[in-house]
């Protein structure tokens, strides 16, 4: 407005994959943009989450290949495994990635304001020095539009504090100096399963504790049981359908007491350390949201509409702090929608029903990738469905890799062929998912996928076969 004179068109709070992507999109659209960050650029994803984790998991895969080398005719003695190198390599990857974000900020002329940001009023943020740079000047900046992208942090078990020594959260687990002799992971979601797989491969004796009746409880039940089979084969102790009753810390380790939800019996497991991986809490307290008039729900998540607007029209929110779906690529997609809405250019709103079609990946071995509804969910939503499922076992490439398990399952609407869901477990399935995501987005049906010629021999042929199976006639079955 005429009488207003703000420092910036857009101010982004938090530089995770939500915030930094929103800032770049806003700057591309000609808006004067700044980003406030109290830690390293890149947020949880680049510093503590997706990126270091993927690096560690690759180490585990290499190690697993070495351990199975005899199957391929290689024998060697005296294999030396240095755990510290795995962590060190992951930190190198992190450092290159965060430098990349800094470069993108400079390239797009985005001001990076180091410090903790707090709302003073709906258009003003006070930035006070934080550990990233204690000598940075305190300052007050104003903006016509503000995007809250402050992310979240690990949720503790009630009454059990993270001490970094015995009771760990992901930040600790990502940077241990030595591999623990034994580890209990509480929570069999993606993070728990991935870090568990990493440590187990490096030789840690692992127990996974899950309240619901199966691992990866958000996935298709057949996918869960395929992963459970593989974990058990690695000697991992899986306790599902049990509630954690107590965590006791002693000098020598931890004891976790669990109650079996079926027969109500209790038992306990001991280990050197316990990793709590049960979801997140949003970073929305101490943010001055009251001063801005921004509403949160009872759990503290910022409420937003399909174009990421909060109840205050010029304030937006994206990513983990909205509680929509705590994944990096979702945060980025939300950021792009928010920036485009602010710039008033064409955008693609994300109404609530679209989140279930966002890709969901778990990078343990076997990998898991899915999007959309399971067969049961689709039926519950009132669809008549056709399901096509095809295993990796007969696939030539999978056999060459020595893979014997896993499958691709496609759930489609029987009437119009719309793809309602895809569920995959097996080799590199996280890299195979985008074909189905694109098909779902463009409303392509399994008929077109089946007719699209897929190169031979590749793993992607299994998607083609599953699509044929939806149509009722897989070729190699």
């Amino acid at each position: 407005m005429a009488e207003h004179n703000y420092d910036y068109d857009v101010l982004v709070l938090g530089s995770g994959p939500g915030g930094y992507v929103a800032a770049i999109r806003a700057a591309q659209l000609g808006l004067k943009t700044a980003i406030v960050e109290r830690e390293n650029l890149g947020g949880v994803c680049l510093n503590w989450g997706c990126i270091p984790k993927k690096s560690l998991l690759h180490n585990a895969e290499v190690l697993e290949t070495l351990l199975e080398a005899e199957d391929f005719g290689f024998t060697f003695e005296n294999l030396q495994v240095d755990f510290g190198s795995a962590i060190k390599r992951s930190l190198g990857v992190v450092s290159r990635q965060t430098k990349g974000v800094a470069f993108l900020m400079r390239k797009n002329k985005i001001d990076v304001l180091e410090g903790q940001g707090v709302f003073q009023d709906p258009h003003t943020i006070e930035v006070t020095p934080a550990e990233i740079n204690p000598d940075a000047p305190a300052r007050t900046v104003s903006a016509a539009n503000i995007i809250i992208a402050t992310g979240g942090r690990a949720r503790p078990l009630p009454g059990v504090e993270f001490d970094g020594e015995r009771v760990l959260q992901y930040r600790h687990a990502m940077r241990l100096a030595e591999k623990p002799e034994s580890l209990i992971v509480i929570g069999a979601g993606a993070i728990g399963m991935e870090l568990g797989y990493f440590y187990s491969t490096y030789g840690t004796k692992l127990t996974v504790v899950e309240l619901l009746d199966r691992v990866l409880p958000n996935e298709d039940p057949e996918v869960s049981s395929e992963v459970a089979k593989a974990f058990k084969a690695k000697g991992i102790n899986l306790l599902t359908g049990v509630r954690t009753e107590a965590v006791e810390v002693s000098d020598s380790g931890v004891t976790v007491t669990v109650r079996n939800m079926q027969d109500d019996s209790t038992s306990s497991v001991e280990a050197a350390k316990v990793l709590v991986a049960i979801n997140i809490v949003p970073n929305t307290e101490n943010l001055g949201l009251e001063a801005a008039g921004v509403q949160t729900d009872e759990r503290g998540y910022v409420k937003v509409d399909a174009v990421m607007r909060t109840n205050v029209p010029h304030i937006y929110s994206i990513g983990d702090c909205t509680g929509k779906m705590p994944l990096a690529h979702v945060a980025s997609a939300m950021g792009i929608t928010a920036a485009e809405t602010i710039a008033d250019v064409e955008t693609l709103p994300i109404p609530d029903e679209k989140y279930k079609f966002m890709p969901r990946c778990t990078y343990c071995k076997p990998e898991v990738a899915s999007m959309g509804m399971t067969e049961a969910q689709a039926k519950e939503a009132g669809y008549e469905v056709n399901v096509g499922k095809f295993p990796f076992l007969p696939n030539g490439k999978a056999q060459a890799l020595g893979v014997k398990s896993g499958f691709v399952k496609i759930v489609a609407d029987a009437k119009y062929g719309e793809i309602l869901g895809a569920h995959m477990v097996g080799p590199d399935v996280t890299e195979l998912l985008p074909e189905l995501s694109l098909a779902q987005f463009m409303e392509i049906t399994p008929a077109e996928i089946a007719r699209t010629v897929h190169a031979h021999p590749t793993l992607s042929e299994v998607i083609m076969e599953a699509a044929h199976a939806v149509e009722g006639h897989p070729i190699h079955m």
């Binding site: 005429a2 009488e3 016509a144 693609l348 119009y416």
Partner: protein, 416 residues
Amino acid sequence: MPKLGESVIEGQVARWLKAPGDQVEKLEPLLEISTDKIDTEVPAPASGVLLQILVAEGETVDAGVTLAFIGQPGEELAQPVPTTAAAPTAPPTGAPAASFPADPAPTIAQRPTGRAFISPVVSRMAAEHSVDLAQVPGTGLNGRITKKDMVAFLENGAAPPVLSAQRTSIASSPSAGWALNEDETLHPLTSMRRAIAQHMVQSKAVSPHVTTLFEVDMTATVRHREAHKEAFATRGLHLTYTAYFVMATAAALAAHPRVNSRFREDGIVQSRRVHLGIAVALNDGLIVPVLRDADEKNLQGVARALNDLTNQARSGTLMADATRGGTFTMTNHGTSGSLLGTPIINQPQAGILGIGAIVKRPVVRSAAASLLPSADDAIVIRPMCYLSFTFDHRVLDGAEADRFVAHIKEQLETWI
């Protein structure tokens, strides 16, 4: 497509007078076509049932192209024939009708219909429900029709409510795909042009527009401005007539809050605050900055805000949110000489006020109460101005709309 003259090589299907399935008699009017030379009705060449229409309304095709098939009741066409409507309808064939044989090849199939991509899911739905996809508003990227749009269309026969940040397709007329001829050049749309086009098409599609017209004797206002404009100039302010129109309109909006509102499926949303959008012409296009709380400002405040907004709009330095949140819009098209206009509503508002040029005109003034000729009648010369108020008939009815404009008129005619 009949060849209607030596130099007529193509024609446009203006209107089909029969629908597929209708019985037609030989020589009964079947469709209307228009060419650059002549508009005419085309009679049916044979009796029977209209089996399939191949060329949709609004499409232009070469002379000789098959337009439709007429056959026997229940007759199935043996081979699929592409239609210009994007929907693959049931595959019929049969005896060509309304065709004056020349080249039976349906060249129309290669013509783009202005829509880039129809997904397999959408085309299956369209086929099942025999939907003409040209009628379905798309809300996907680049106006693509999604399954959700189809579901909404089939449920209400209308577009789903459009989010402000979502855009409707501007390619809503079949002309969008017409090929260029050698005398034409294509100027790609600027993003502003595209935005204006989208807003205008969407507005006309969403609200039923009605326009009411008043004339105002501006003598009192002109007198006031003449008396004060120098004093304003010494304060660095340019006192325009627009400022007076803003003042009068804002006061009338505050007094008639029903006009300061917008339509929603569940009710009429009235705003307690008056944020007046003012259309500002730019080199290529138009922008509508918003004067917030216009009813709370005095003439000087309005003049200052107007000066700022128009300067910023023309220099491209408007704040990102300066065009947001308007509750009503005014357009002073009189500044470019126009006497009267019928502007299009700026969605989602309920109305828009158009202001014509102020010109001296002879008008009749009379002390007599009667409309009959009287010795008291006199012709005088007065600065006159037309006000046109276009409103959303879903929100307002004529009488209410007229009371609103009358209130503006009264203020302008009695300004002191």
